[in-house]
Amino acid sequence: MLKNMKPNSVIKKTVSYTLLALGGITMILPFLWMLSTSLKSYSSVFIFNLTDIRWLPNPVYFKNYIDVWKVVPFARFYINSIFVVVCVTFGQVLTSSLAAYAFARLRFPGRDKLFFAYLATMMIPGSVTMIPVFALMRLFGWIDTYKALIIPAIFSAYGTFLLRQFFMTIPRDLEDAAKIDGCSLWGIFWSVILPLSKTALATLTIFISLGNWVSFMWPLLVTNSIEKRTLPVGLAYFQELYQYAQPDWGLLMAGSLITMVPVIIVFLFNQRFFVEGIKLTGMKG
């Protein structure tokens, strides 16, 4: 397709917009079909045949969006997910910014060796550590508790690494000025470094919360009861209810859409942080 691009910018633009639009339609159609299905009743979902693919539900069946909260405890899944994401994100941003500050600015014996250990573990596949941590959870009696969902997820070398790289780019002059004014190390961290790192902190916050919001395998492993499931695992459980029958796709799609909405809203308001964050992590990685 690139071959056809002549210096003539009109042709180039036309080709570009056509490609983008075609691709965009391919991206968006499945979502529209999801929305359409979610507004159809169980029977009307199955009515269409080769002469009839109904994009517009008729009648529009909103009841799926009411029923879905009763069929499975969706509200509970929601509360669990939000609680876990908030705790993990807060804990991780806090502990990794503290550690990152020490790695970036303070001199103490063993610092570089320790940082190398952090770096080295970033290459290790998640399943290597997941297996013993799962066994540890059983040993601690944490299976099916919020502790298992939250505490192991707080500690990541990744967040520390990302923030350390960012803190290194902050000019030292400001800290020196604060030091002369008699500011403590904690004071420098809290009122000089953190305020200057808002973009990096926002980026990390978004990445951690998004990553944890969609986390699947770990919550699947450590939760047994329905009341402790997070949204992704709850959604999987919802589908398993229909193991031996044709699922109620309208209900399933309504449930799926409900899980998507908050993230899409967060994304639309913070697109800049996503883009910057990907560049930051991608380039340094």
Binding site: L20, G23, M27, A99, A102, I131, F216, A236, M260, I264
Partner: protein, 314 residues
């Protein structure tokens, strides 16, 4: 250190700042790495006492034996999963090229760029389980949109109606998952990395080439491609590393690893051994196999990759 000396204020603060993070890192990363290494030499079902079995897990995993005169794998399922994992990775070059093409198109002065980028980015930010359910519905044999469109198409072309068993046949299951993967990946992280890389190519190079009368294709091949090669390389390595560790959620939701275990990846196999079959030590040995493969890829790339990549002189 020789002799005793008191820590000065900065050193003491350094340790204090690191402490909370380090404790977690120790308990949930460092110690588990050591534990999983030990576990890979152990047979344990989490109920009875662990039993040291030496290299048995690894010889069972990687070894072969003679059976009726021919060489048979000790654990054929493992090799099937290695094959599945590699097979599913065939789509990676296509995904990367598609992301690059999209980035090249988007890198021009496009109106509504934020809208387009948001649309293409949607699958990346969406809960993966929801995406898998959506595609399971699209791929549904009797009522799915894709098969119904296909039937319509057959009707228009006046050929006998055909339906594709997207997720229910061994032949189609993997390509179906790969197609979904392409749809998810095309406008995701890689595309944004490529856009950043494209913006980093100096304008003067293109201007100089234009004076020499270079065509669009020439400019792409002789300027863009070499200039962005570090990004392409990074993206490809990360995709391969990710590929060895992926495929669990899709298969768990959409196919249950079937049909005939044709979509069970190594990650899924680890889950099965750990959770479904309580083979903790064996699961650890598979995880270490994946680790070693990933490690080799990383080291080889580190060592030799630089020669394939043209770093900027600017």
């Amino acid at each position: 250190m020789t002799g005793t000396r008191y820590l000065n204020k900065e050193e003491f603060a350094g340790y204090l700042f690191i402490l909370p993070n380090f404790l977690g890192f120790l308990v949930f990363t460092l110690v588990p790495v050591a534990l999983s290494f030990i576990l890979s030499f152990i047979s344990w079902d989490m109920l009875s006492a662990p039993k040291f079995v030496g290299l048995f897990n690894f010889t069972n995993l990687l070894g072969f034996h003679k059976e009726a005169g021919s060489l048979v794998a000790n654990d054929p399922l493992f090799w099937q999963c290695v094959g599945n994992t590699l097979y599913l990775m065939i789509i990676i070059p296509v995904e990367i090229m598609a992301s690059l093409l999209l980035a090249v198109v988007m890198n021009q002065k496009i109106r509504f760029i934020n809208m387009f980028r948001a649309i293409y980015f949607m699958p990346t930010i969406t809960n993966g389980v929801a995406i898998c359910l959506l595609w399971a519905w699209l791929y549904n044999y009797d009522f799915g949109l894709l098969n119904n469109l296909l039937v319509k198409l057959c009707h228009v072309l006046s050929v006998p109606a055909a339906r594709i068993p997207w997720l229910t046949s061994v032949a189609w299951a993997k390509p179906s998952l790969m197609l979904m993967g392409l749809w998810i990946m095309i406008g995701g992280y890689n595309m944004i990395l490529f856009m950043a890389a494209l913006q980093g190519v100096p304008r003067e190079l293109y201007e100089a080439a234009e004076i020499d009368g270079a065509s669009g294709w020439h400019k792409f091949w002789n300027i863009t491609w070499p200039m962005i090669s570090p990004t392409t390389f990074f993206v490809a390595v990360m995709a391969v590393i990710g590929g060895f560790q992926g495929g669990f959620m899709q298969a768990y939701i959409m196919t249950g690893g079937g049909p005939d275990r044709s979509t069970t990846t190594l990650e899924y196999l680890i889950y099965n051994h750990l959770y479904s079959w309580q083979h903790v030590g064996y699961a650890a040995s598979i995880a270490w196999f994946v680790f070693i493969v990933v490690f080799i890829i990383t080291v080889v790339n580190w060592r030799f990759g630089g020669k394939l990549v043209q770093y900027s002189h600017y």
